[in-house]
Subunit: 203 residues, 2 copies
Amino acid sequence: MKLYDGGRAPNPRRVRIFLAEKGIELPTIPVDMGMMEHRSEAVTRLNPLQRLPVLELDDGTILTESVAICRYFEELHPQPALFGTDALDRARVEMWQRRVEFELYLPVAAAFRHLHPAMREREVPQVPEWGEANKPRARAFLSFLNEELASRAFLTGDAFTIADITGLVSIQFMKPARIEMPEGLDHLHRWYDTVADRPSAAA
Amino acid sequence: MKLYDGGRAPNPRRVRIFLAEKGIELPTIPVDMGMMEHRSEAVTRLNPLQRLPVLELDDGTILTESVAICRYFEELHPQPALFGTDALDRARVEMWQRRVEFELYLPVAAAFRHLHPAMREREVPQVPEWGEANKPRARAFLSFLNEELASRAFLTGDAFTIADITGLVSIQFMKPARIEMPEGLDHLHRWYDTVADRPSAAA
């Protein structure tokens, strides 16, 4: 199989960090999203929705959506478990993954897409009012997360999971989205430093 | 355990349809979202994010996020499998679930929240330009889905899954969001009729 990768964008990074945590190496085909190669004919044939990354299996089967690709590798290589270990734990990982995606990742992405000058020709129409409306939402969720992290090491408990990966890339996405990290969220900062220091974060 | 339900809103419906497909009956506590009861002190204590539904286990553990609640019941009652049956199938269900959520459900929800007069005091700020921008996105995805459904019965293949539930509630959400179904999408209509006719759709 091979992975059509998308460089520094948050979703391709999620999958690379996940694979690094699993110790999985894959043949990778770089696609330059800065050069709009994800909208090329070649990528559109693989994924008509023109999103990256894309996993192509040896029989030609295509898997898209970062979390779907990660889940496939979780099934093939269950250890270390990054989607949870039993029924309740797997549900908690799903819950936190979704909370972080809907309350942090999407607001940060909206601020980036609707306010950043580089996105003017890609996000049509760019709606600056919508971008601005998302900044306080992202910050409010970070405060909520800070309180949650007072009582545990990682987002879902004692173990690192895919929800932590989504949290890490979302927070790092705040820089190009020009959202400042609120002051004084000590538990969040402690968690962030732990996660950002893992070797996988360089993937 | 007990389910704090949210009536006709799409996410509470997703969980009720899922439970109906599984044949699971649960004690249910109705919460009137029209009366803003999901922002009450009682619900906020269960879910600080003020979203429904919420599942409370017998030991007081709280699970939120519709898909996390569904996944928990999938683990407890694996048959009929609604999240897929093997590694690749589970990844495909995740892929289609996410495609429908991000490319259809979220655009329809944005049109509803940012354009409907009833949402004026709940979605602050309401950004009509953003609501309008989402309507063509939803319609474009329906055309894509129509082509996909030319070659199979359900979104992920021969079997009904949670992705079909998300598709059903998303399409029914188009009515309050005032998005018209495009003409001539015969495969999509055939799929929709099949799914909407299942007894679970009345849940």
